[in-house]
């Protein structure tokens, strides 16, 4: 079994939001727990997928794991070394081993630099290679991301979406990372190009032994690329397990809703639900995130169909008994009293 490259334990990231003048005077601010006690690990040459609705804290986890923002609590161990409290200077040599691919295609591509200069810069951040070495590395990178040599003379604005994505990936590969956090790497691309990029990322993993934390809301793609999938709801992991188990044998009601919404969209049958049923369903589906006053007990209870079905058991809303992740076999963990 390959070794663990990243281990995250009880990670917390709380944002503070001031409330204008009054809060400046009293020092009072509202606290938004974007990530609230998340633990998982990632093995070498493996992909962990992170899914959940917008605002559930997926991206915050990605950024915190790479120490792009400082965690409020918990620990991050990268390659056996606790990096939670490392200073900027101490982090610097580690940065090259942990890279991020951003959702925004233009992120990291200086609009005033040609592709050649962008790659050259990336190659010389940590090393001082000779010109000949740079030239051969650039050729190697182009080959790895399947980009034409003629594009080296282009500015980012002259590239298509797929080409920008390839340059972005080449730039990340230039520093020879071991862990890549890919935050929605395909969502800004067209369908036909998405497939190219997904194939490319999988190829690179195979050849370079990369580990990915793959953040996406595209469930089929996540299922395809990941060994394990973690499902997040309101800053917590509510279910985690092998990709096929999460997709086909989900235990948590939220995971079930998430995957069935995909099937709903595809079904061709016009629903014959009554108005009342629809409104009822709606109310749950619309549940607005309220980080300030998370429901006592299980955070998902206000939207949970199982909670309704069971006749609103008190244990679900008891502030003293928020469900914890428990093992249901094959490394599959679920945070629900009834799943």
């Amino acid at each position: 079994m390959s070794k663990t490259i990243l281990e995250v334990t009880d990670l917390r990231k709380h944002y503070r939001q001031g409330r204008g003048l009054a809060s400046m005077l009293t020092g009072e601010a509202r606290v938004i727990p974007a990530v609230d006690g998340v633990s998982f690990y990632l093995r070498e040459n493996e992909t962990v997928g992170l899914v959940g609705e917008s605002g559930c804290g997926k991206t915050t986890i990605g950024r915190t794991v790479l120490r792009l923002t400082d965690p409020t609590g918990g620990s991050i161990v990268f390659d056996g070394r606790d990096i939670t409290a490392l200073s900027r200077a101490e982090l610097r040599p580690l940065r090259r081993e942990m890279q991020m691919i951003f959702q925004d295609l233009d992120a990291g591509l200086n609009p005033a630099m040609r592709v050649r200069a962008i790659l050259r810069e990336a190659l010389t951040v940590y090393e001082r290679p000779s010109d000949a070495e740079i030239a051969s590395r650039i050729r190697e990178l182009l080959e790895q991301v399947n980009l034409k040599e003629s594009k080296l003379a282009n500015f980012p604005a002259e590239l298509s979406g797929g080409e920008k994505r390839r340059v972005g990936i080449a730039r990340v590969l230039a520093v020879r990372p071991r862990l890549i956090v890919a935050d929605e790497p395909t969502s800004a691309l067209d369908i036909s190009i998405q497939a190219q990029v997904v194939n490319l990322l999988r190829d690179l993993q195979k050849h370079l032994g990369l580990s990915y934390l793959f953040i996406s809301h595209d469930l089929p793609v996540v299922e395809l690329v990941s060994e394990k999938v973690a499902v997040m709801y309101l800053g917590r992991i509510v279910e985690m397990g092998l990709a096929e188990d999460i997709a086909h044998r989900p235990r948590h009601p939220y995971t079930q809703i998430l995957w069935s919404s995909l099937a709903d969209k595809q079904s061709t049958e016009v629903s014959r639900r009554t108005r009342q049923e629809t409104v009822e369903r709606e109310r749950r589906a619309w549940g607005v995130f309220d980080f300030e006053h998370p429901a006592g007990g299980c955070r998902f209870a206000p939207r949970c169909p199982l909670y309704e079905q069971k006749g609103r058991p008190a244990v679900c809303t008891d502030p003293a008994s928020e469900p914890r992740l428990r093992d249901v076999g094959r490394g599959h963990v679920v945070a629900c009293h009834f799943a």
Partner: protein, 366 residues
Amino acid sequence: MDALLAIENLRTYFYSRAKRAFIRSVDGASLSVARGETLGIVGESGSGKTVTALSAAGLVTAAPGVIGGRIELRSNGIARNLLDGLERYVRVEEADGHVVSVEKNEPGWRRRVEALMAGVRGKEIAMIFQNPRAALNPYSTVGSQLVETIRLHTGAKGEREAKERAIHWLERVRIDSPRLRFDNFPFGMSGGMCQRAMIAMALSAEPSLLIADEPTTGLDATIQSRIVELLAELKAETRTATLLISHDISVIQRLSDRVAVMYGGTVVETGGTAEVLAREASERHPYTQALLASIPSAETIRRKSYLQAIEGEVLDTIEVPRGCRFYGRCNRVTEGVRERCAGAEPPLAEIAPGHKVRCWLYPARS
């Protein structure tokens, strides 16, 4: 077929200052929507889906804009060409697949468009957009925006009657506590809720044609499926003819009766949804086939195999090739047709009743 909207040979061009060239966003597109029917338009970004819809709604403002074609709307027993006489204001010069120059009498063209679209836009043709929050007026409540639409476009002129209708529409789009929501501002509502309000607003004018441009894009997965469900229910209830644009094939599959596939500014295939989008169908445009193959299927996921990507990049419509627009990326060119593929654009030929394909592999059946 009793077409409500018939678009023929539509051409809408823009000028890109950065590239110093004309972009042929829509370049000879033809399609039609029958009464009570939902036509789905599929295609990648830049294929001309949205610009086709905007042209039909008379909402293209950038120059040179709509420069040719016919958009015929037949409603209430009247047939009118929404582009009638516009060609008098535009002159296009072309050479080698490039548009060299476009001369356009902008003020005259504008006046003519406004005259043609009066009583059509908003009333006959209503539209919902991808970003509902941006399309709603942030300074006014959802209710008052609905009331405004209703008083402008329907027989309900009185304030009270209009308000009752507005609340009725909020209820119809499954917004709960409609009376309370009536006084909400858009910022107090979630994205999905705003999209519902947009849909209510568009339908409250009782339009002949609804244009829905990426109505689910940008919403969360769980909310997306709710909006799709709502659109399916409203479709069954109101039978409003709809032009549905989406790059999400599953949304198109669920809601459309017929499909038009666009590539490089033109329609490359149209037909019944089942014929065009079924994975196992054998006769269809190579682009449609490749597009469907690039979506992860249950089989691909189970085997963890590679996705079948379409090589190359989406066609930029500045330089339109002499032959087929998809030739450069096509993986089904055979020696028998290669010369024709490279040399001439294939016609949109009917290969089976109601199923048209723009490809030299399929000869027209008459």
